[in-house]
């Protein structure tokens, strides 16, 4: 399966936004103070820019043996270990507490180069009004175990 869609069972919520900001150590009041956010053109608090790309809140998946509950493609490349290559985030509009987020993951190219395997996939995030919120292109790299 090369495409999977998850819809969050609930609104993102203010607590999730405040929790993320506090965990990062980001004290920007845009994320916690409605009056401050309104002074700067928003209709209330917004989420920190990268929250939407990071939370597994939307997937509703159980934890696997390693404790992970996020999206995976179940790709198996024996004799390799997985590292994160990079991300490109497009932020189309600020994410707000009332957003009910749907994410669609699409598996892109799988390229072998210099003994490594590069897997690219794209996640597209929308809300319940079908507004495009953000796009995340992610590259994962499977490195041979014998490499340092």
């Amino acid at each position: 399966m090369n495409e999977v869609t998850y819809t969050s069972p609930e609104e993102l919520g203010r607590a999730a936004i405040r929790y993320f900001a506090q965990a990062v150590g980001d004290a920007n009041p845009l994320y916690t103070d409605d009056a401050h956010a309104r002074e700067h053109g928003y209709d209330g608090v917004i989420a920190p820019p990268t929250l939407i790309f990071e939370t597994n809140q939307f997937t509703g998946l159980p934890r696997d043996a390693d404790g992970y509950c996020g999206h995976t493609w179940d790709l198996d490349f024996p004799g390799t270990r997985l590292v994160r290559g990079g991300n490109t985030y497009e932020l189309h509009q600020p994410v707000r507490p009332a957003d009910v987020i749907t994410v669609t993951w699409r598996l892109g190219k799988i390229v072998r180069k210099a003994g490594k395997i590069f897997v690219t996939s794209t996640a597209t995030y929308t809300n319940q009004h079908a507004d495009l919120l953000a796009v995340n292109e992610e590259t994962l790299i499977y490195i041979p175990l014998e490499d340092p």
């Binding site: 401050h36 820019p49 790309f53 990071e54 809140q57 509950c69 991300n87 985030y89 600020p94």
Partner: protein, 126 residues
Amino acid sequence: MIPPLQRRIDPAGMIAYAGATWDWHRLHHDSAYAVERGLPAPVVDGQLFGALLAEQLQDWLGPSARITRMSFRFRSMVFAGETVRCTGRVVSEADGLLTVEQQVEVIGDNPRIAVAPATSVVERRL
């Protein structure tokens, strides 16, 4: 020059980030799991650096600026207890869009680049 942002990534912060992102993978909080795999300590979730790079830009440009694009590559793992420093510079500015290049480096006993290049585009609203 963009004012740098420096932060020590302590174990409690990593657990908080794992909780906030619903990512409870043992790699990010279980020391024994990390050591079994030849790593010195739990590995910091790479996308935390995206959050720090966004914080650095937003703190610098203020609440009226909005980040519209971020792109970054990971160069090396960062481990619990290490301190990172985000630095950056402006590459160009045109039509209210600012393009910046940032990086994240680990400072201390084992200095190295963690994230580079990191390119962002910020819209300056009135």
